[in-house]
Amino acid sequence: MANTQSLSRLKTMVIALSIGMFFLLSWQIFSLDLRTRFLFGSPMLTLQALYAHSVTGELPQSFLITGLEVVLGFVAGSLLGSILGFALWISSSATKIARPYLALLDAVPVFVFAPLIIIWFGVGLPMKIALVVIGTALVSLAYSYEGSTSMDKDEIQMLRVFGATKLQTLVKLIIPSSLSWLLASLRMNVGVAITGAVIGEYISSNYGLGHFMFRAGSFYDIPSIFAGAVYLLVLSFLMRNIVAWLEGHKRILLNLF
């Protein structure tokens, strides 16, 4: 049974790898044409750009800066959003007041307000972090509020009979039972955080992966854009793995409650 499963997994991997290799090979072949190479670059040129910009330290440095913006904004935004979401659960009247505003914010991607963020936070590092914080906080707020309101009413009633205060109910019941929602919001926020930081760097920056890619684009340096994207993929992969590790250790987190 286990053998059949690992065989089928191996088969899936081989097929996926073959498709990837086929894609890269076709890309390389089509890039023999000059016009195609100008517009799409090529895998070999991307590798060369990746190597060249890595050894000069430009890409690793940009990676660290973008990584810093993403991680700081991700942690602060996720925390802030979750706290606000649970605060809404505590006060039902605040929820009623906040609901239409939340619906408004939900209707438009928050990054369209980037010019406002520049006015408020300037063009430096705080602006990128603020963009990430706002983007991730809204996701966490929605998830934590949804998690707290989708609770079994009987369990809340049971705690009421035990004499629990709202805060005790939050700590003993709502937060632990919303943990899956919180982890799902973190998973979602990895993408949101990277998008926020890169958009911030596109708009105005002298550093970071977004700036690197934007500058490469303005010089029609397609291979360097792809090289920057590879570093972004690595950042996303690392963060997703951290969230996956947290999800794998959910029981340890739950033991805190």
Binding site: D154, M158, R160, V161, F162, A164, S177, L254
Partner: protein, 260 residues
């Protein structure tokens, strides 16, 4: 001293100050979301060390009545006076899935800010008494339905209330375990002078367990029959009970009331 916890259109209850009286319901009327009346004009009293068993068909409003007593739903009219601390064992065991059995049992103590070390010793003793000694570290999903109900019952005992409301708490247990738990509940109530309100569908269980029986019926729900069970403790043994005349009399009386 009787502490009325819920009051609406308060009527004077004559002996409401009587110290051994733990729970008083007077002309209670409960609606559902402010619409149809579910419970109409129900009055009863429960003393310390007394078990009142409530019988009735499904959906008649027995759970609504317990929800009202425990303060979970608003009442429309009448009075509920509660003298002491109350615990409510609902139909569902409501064990929190991320807590071990032992931690679930200790939850009310943590909330009340009580001595968790002493409560843990008591909880471990009760768990082993129920044959769940090794289940303290297990999570609810690792327990059977019956085991979960036992843990829920132990949680109520550890919280040491003055009044216990139990809504079919042993429904997931096998017949023998159910009888055994009924016996334990009686011993617990008599020994510790606890007032118990116990809801069940099972007429035989009701007679074996209760000091007084209430049969609820009609729509909206009202008391159809109130009767005292006149049995010595020795007569409550399952075999002796079923051979006694009192059992047969009460069974027939309740049957006729429920059937009507």
């Amino acid at each position: 001293m009787l502490l009325p916890t819920l009051r609406k259109n308060t009527n004077q209850v004559n002996d409401a100050t009587s110290d051994d009286c733990r729970l008083v319901l007077d002309d209670l009327r409960v609606g559902y979301d402010g619409s149809a009346t579910v419970v109409a004009g129900v009055s009863f009293r429960v003393k310390a060390g007394e078990i009142l068993v409530i019988l009735g068909k499904s959906g008649i409003g027995k759970t609504t009545l317990l929800n009202a007593i425990s303060g979970l739903i608003e009442i429309d009219r009448g009075l509920i006076a509660v003298n002491g601390r109350l615990a409510y064992v609902m139909q569902k065991d409501l064990l929190l899935p991320w807590r071990t059995s032992l931690k679930n049992v200790l939850l009310p103590i943590e909330i009340m800010g009580g001595d968790t070390t002493a409560a843990q010793v008591k909880a471990e003793g009760l768990l082993s008494q129920e044959g769940l000694g090794s289940a303290g570290d297990l999570y609810p999903k690792e327990l059977s339905g019956g085991m979960r109900q036992k843990v829920s019952f132990i949680r109520m005992q550890v919280s040491d209330p003055d009044i216990a409301l139990l809504d079919e708490p042993f429904s997931a247990l096998d017949y023998v375990s159910r009888l055994r738990h009924g016996k334990r509940l009686r011993e617990w109530a008599l020994m510790n002078q606890k007032a118990v309100v116990y809801v069940t569908h099972d007429v035989e269980e009701a007679i074996g367990l209760g000091d007084r029986l209430l049969v609820l019926g009609d729509s909206p729900c009202r008391i159809l029959l109130e009767t005292k069970v006149d049995l010595q403790e020795s007569q409550r043994d399952p075999v002796v009970l079923r051979e006694s005349q009192e059992f047969q009399r009460k069974f027939s009386l309740i049957w006729q009331t429920l059937k009507a």
